[in-house]
């Protein structure tokens, strides 16, 4: 975990490459934690990703490097990692739907069975990229709320914002994304 701490400090110091290096480490850490959880839980139990992310964070904060800045960077990386996992999973499902049945390997991410349809995940993912250009902080809130399942108080703590502010970000971002998605669904080239 000291690698992660070093990278978090580097991000805070403004090093350009640090964030890109952090992501795979956080991803790997989440995966390992999930594996440990799974080994101890009964089959088919619900795994709360938000608990995983917090657990991973505690490991870092426990070393005394849990500054507010580091916390924000970490949670953002964790949310991005979860987003990637879910989107990769959704794309794979789409390929299976539209292509032939594949007998072959499945990556571990495909073990995540979500009731949210993959079309919705992919649509939100695309629209979110646009929102991030206009309102990066609102997009961060969506990442954490939608892809990790963090609550408003948890997001407020992670981003060092007032809960009321997080509420407003979420309200606006939600409406904005829905409007964008509906427009793309009804437009002439509605590729979602």
């Amino acid at each position: 975990m000291s690698d992660v701490t070093q990278l978090l400090n580097a991000i805070e110091a403004g090093e350009p490459k640090a964030a890109g290096q952090l992501l795979p480490l956080v991803y790997e850490e989440l995966r390992k934690l999930a594996a440990v959880r799974m080994a101890n839980e009964k089959m088919g139990q619900t795994l709360q990703p938000t608990a995983l992310v917090h657990e991973a964070w505690l490991k870092i904060a426990g070393t005394g490097d849990g500054s507010f800045a580091n916390r924000r960077h970490f949670f953002k990386a964790a949310a991005t990692a979860m987003q990637q996992i879910l989107i990769d999973n959704a794309r794979r499902k789409q390929r299976l739907k539209h292509g032939a049945n594949q007998v072959g390997d499945e990556l571990h991410e495909s073990r995540i069975a979500i009731s949210t349809p993959s079309e919705e995940l992919l649509a939100v993912n695309d629209a979110l990229a646009s929102l991030a250009l206009e309102d990066p902080q609102a997009a961060e809130v969506v990442q954490m709320r939608y892809f990790v399942g963090m609550t408003v108080p948890e997001i407020a703590a992670a981003l060092n914002l007032a809960p009321r502010t997080v509420d407003r970000h979420w309200a606006f971002a939600r409406a904005w994304l829905k409007r964008t998605i509906r427009k793309s669904l009804s437009g002439p080239v509605g590729s979602v």
């Binding site: 999930a34 594996a35 799974m38 080994a39 839980e41 009964k42 089959m43 088919g44 139990q45 619900t46 795994l47 709360q48 990703p49 879910l86 049945n101 594949q102 007998v103 072959g104 390997d105 499945e106 990556l107 571990h108 495909s110 073990r111 995540i112 069975a113 979500i114 009731s115 949210t116 919705e120 995940l121 939100v124 309102d135 709320r145 939608y146 892809f147 990790v148 399942g149 963090m150 407003r168 309200a171 606006f172 939600r174 409406a175 904005w176 994304l177 829905k178 409007r179 998605i181 509906r182």
Partner: protein, 193 residues
């Protein structure tokens, strides 16, 4: 003011009427702009499921018995989880059936090249033997049509299915009940009744 600011301010209003008055003032003559904000408000108040909360509500991560790097394999509607037996005929795997219903099954995968009539006969005998058993951990075997099969105990039930990789399902076509081969096109044929 940006659409975000107007949207958030409009949400502070108590009634739709007050909101409309506010929008009139804030958006002025810009009809397009006003319509955009109205769309935001409409989405905010609509009760549909899109972005209602977390995508993960109801997420379930299916555990695999071997947590390590072994990739899972798909065979038709079945996801192979763990090999639990082996013999001259082939292998037995614990698998997760995905369609039309999600449940654990024991999947017998037969080696290619074995005589299909012999296999059918052996399975028929096995099925009858199982049908006579009355054990807490063995589910009753029903018809091979998955839609009718109902394990007597939720997810603990084991159902004996047979999957022959790349089978052409010849024996099943000759059987009096065609539904035995409902899954033939998926390269797996569930026998058992």
């Amino acid at each position: 003011m940006t659409e975000r600011e107007i949207f958030l301010a409009a949400l502070e209003m108590g009634t739709p009427e007050e909101r409309a008055v506010y929008l009139e003032e804030a958006c002025g003559r810009d009809v397009t702009f006003r319509r955009k904000v109205e769309e935001l408000l409409k989405e905010h108040f609509s009760n549909d499921s899109l972005l209602a909360g977390s995508a993960l509500e109801g997420a379930r991560i299916a555990a695999e018995s071997s947590v390590a790097e072994t990739p899972a394999q798909l065979l038709g509607h079945y996801k192979l989880l763990e090999k639990i037996g082996e013999g001259g005929f082939g292998e037995v795997w614990m698998a997760e059936q995905r369609e039309p219903v999600r449940r654990r099954v024991a999947l017998k995968i037969i080696k290619l090249g074995m005589d299909s009539r012999q296999i059918v006969a052996r399975f028929e005998a096995e099925r009858q033997a199982l049908a006579m058993m009355d054990h807490a951990n063995i589910a009753k075997i029903f018809d091979a049509d998955d839609r009718e099969a109902a394990p007597s105990r939720g997810s603990d039930a084991l159902r004996l299915a047979c999957a022959r990789a790349n089978c052409s399902c010849e024996p099943c076509e000759r059987r009096p009940r065609p539904q035995a081969c409902r899954e033939a096109r998926e390269n797996a044929c569930a026998l058992g009744g």
